[in-house]
């Protein structure tokens, strides 16, 4: 019975991304040996993140309230929106401190193999945000891989009739990579050297 409980924990941990069976076992036994107060804090943090954190109603970024910290910040430039695939890309870009505009988190990229089409992404929400004409530049910062490129092309074509300035991050980012893994200097320079996207 006791073993069953431990095994459950190992199985649950093993389902986390990047955690293989060996690591899951190591973490499980670490937790068994840890101070009960520490484990309670971890359990609390896990529950809290599920209960309290949600997605920003405006941009789709993770948020502690209805709107995320960036959307609530009046100093951020409302004329520029940077479109990214995931919330973690927002974090990566914020670290560069090159960007003072707003974000839009799509929740992925177009990939028929994975069954993801435009309707599965937060594209309709983006179009609503663009409708009032306040936004003048759209920066497409989807990942520099094939699916990210395809998503950028799709969006660029979609918004073309609106006459916005549409830019794509400069090359220099490792092709085929994740934005999240680009170092701050490279990503910062890619921002500075963004180019107009011609579709």
């Amino acid at each position: 019975m006791y073993e069953g409980v431990v095994q459950n924990l190992i199985d649950e941990l093993g389902m986390l991304p990047g955690v293989g069976p060996k690591s899951a076992q190591r973490i499980a036994f670490h937790l068994l040996a840890a101070d009960p107060a520490d484990v309670k804090r971890l359990a609390h943090a896990l529950l809290e993140v599920k209960e309290r954190v949600r997605f920003c109603r405006v941009c789709g970024n993770v948020a502690a309230e209805e709107e995320c910290r960036i959307c609530r910040d009046q100093r951020r430039d409302p004329h520029v929106i940077c479109v990214v695939e995931e919330s973690k890309d927002v974090v990566a870009i914020e670290k560069t401190r090159e960007f003072r505009g707003r974000y839009h988190v799509l929740g992925g990229a177009i990939s028929p193999i994975d069954g993801v089409g435009p309707d599965d992404l937060r594209i309709r929400e983006l179009m609503t945000r663009l409708a009032d004409g306040q936004v003048t530049e759209l920066i497409l910062a989807t990942d520099p891989n094939l699916e990210g490129e395809a998503t950028a092309t799709y969006l660029a074509r979609l918004v073309k009739p609106m006459g916005l300035k549409v830019t794509r991050l400069a090359s220099g980012l490792p092709v085929g990579g994740d934005l999240e893994y680009a170092d701050e200097v490279t990503l910062g320079r890619a921002f500075e050297g963004r180019r107009l996207l011609d579709v």
């Binding site: 089409g117 309707d119 490129e149 799709y154 490792p174 579709v199």
Partner: protein, 392 residues
């Protein structure tokens, strides 16, 4: 260019092997099935990261082992590079160059270049178009490793696009059942509009990578043509002349050039023309993945017409042409001749031996010592029961 040292862990039949190699000719001799080809296959793998015998990596890992490791110390002029590849079937392979990990294994391509002749080459002449496309693409990668990226991107776009087409075909098929008037309208409003607009996006990416591949293949075939004809004439002087032609389903007008822009335009137009058929069949019908390298002897196609001996000579001529081209680029590639002499008559044996003898490094496998031509006497390893011992 040459391999100075080869070291294997759990590759094919070898739990481990350490083999020091010298410039010039080295022959691996031993009974059938004792591990000669396994050694040269490993060297070929370092150059191309694929085997000349199997399409997947799994058979390369010793039965019962989890991964295989191949290390080769490569010398080019005065420079040396240690290339290490870890083969993990079902997971990503890993590579290190001079002990530093590289982000992707394909970054280790191009450090060693080989031209490998093997009995399997007969498929270049007798086999499906895919064999000849692979020959061209492998040669493109050997000449410019960035084509490994172009080909991978093209394959990925193709896979995405085919999935999308299949979805579209399935949606359409389902709606088609008892035919109602508003079917087509329903199709284009729910989801299908989505399909069509994203299809345009994938088209633009397919066109970009496809035209790059197409342009490179067309140039390559032009460069190979005279070299192949010359090599074939040397190997089989009495036979009709050998010729090559790249055949593509992309409509190219004869008078306009072959620049990337023109090819992109042509591929885009061919896709547009095929669109309806593609939506019905759920598969991409034009592009470099459907093309072929046509081989002719005089008036006749080689495939289906050439004799066994003629087919062999043609296959050898293609490899020799590849060798000429790589050599002209600089950096004499390592020549690997796996079991080829046993297949050739005396005259062609001598001709081939004369052509390859001056290369910086030639590696030969043969089941019996007599199969190694006298012109290619050199170092010799005895390969028996999965171990290689230097005997000369």
């Amino acid at each position: 260019m040459r391999v100075c040292h080869l070291s294997l862990t759990d590759f094919r039949s070898y739990p481990s092997a350490e083999i020091a190699l010298e410039p010039g000719v080295t022959a691996f001799v031993g009974p059938n099935g004792h591990g000669k080809t396994n050694l040269v296959e490993a060297i070929g793998y370092v150059a191309t990261q694929s085997s000349h015998r199997v399409a997947t990596d799994a058979p390369l890992v010793r039965h019962g082992a989890e991964r295989a490791i191949v290390r080769a110390l490569v010398a080019r002029d005065e420079r040396r590079a240690l290339v290490e590849l870890e083969i993990n079937p079902g997971r990503a392979n890993r590579a290190r160059v001079n002990r530093s990990p590289v982000a992707r294994p394909r970054e280790a391509l191009g450090l060693l270049r080989t031209v490998l002749f093997a009995p399997e080459d007969l498929a270049l002449v007798k086999g499906d178009p895919s064999e000849r496309r692979r020959f061209l693409d492998d040669l493109l990668v050997a000449r410019a490793p960035r084509f490994a990226g172009v080909r991978a991107d093209y394959d990925r776009v193709l896979k995405q696009r085919n999935t999308l087409l299949r979805t579209a075909a399935a949606t359409k098929g389902r709606r088609r059942g008892p035919r109602r008037q508003d079917d087509e309208a329903a199709f284009s409003s729910a989801g299908a509009g989505d399909v069509l607009s994203t299809l345009d996006v994938w088209d633009s990416h397919l066109v970009r990578h496809g035209a790059e591949l197409l342009a490179a293949r067309l140039d390559l075939v032009e460069a190979l043509r005279p070299l192949t004809a010359k090599a074939y004439a040397t190997l089989a002087p009495a036979s009709a002349a050998a010729d090559l032609e790249y055949r593509t389903g992309v409509k190219l007008s004869t008078d306009c050039g072959r620049s990337r822009d023109i090819l992109e335009e042509a591929l885009r137009a061919s896709l547009a023309e095929a669109r309806q058929a593609e939506l019905e069949r759920g598969v991409t019908l034009v592009g470099p993945h459907r093309d072929d390298l046509h081989l002719a002897l005089g008036e006749l196609p080689a495939r289906g017409y050439a004799s066994h001996g003629e087919s062999w000579s043609f296959a050898l001529a293609l490899r020799l042409a590849a060798y000429d081209l790589l050599r002209a680029d600089g950096g004499d590639p390592v020549l690997i001749l796996d079991d080829v002499f046993a297949e050739l008559d005396g005259q062609r044996r001598t001709r081939l031996a004369e052509i390859v003898a001056p290369a910086e490094q030639v590696l030969i496998t043969a089941a019996v010592p007599d199969d190694v031509p006298a012109e290619l006497a050199g170092a010799r390893f005895d390969v028996t029961e999965g171990s290689a011992t230097r005997v000369r």
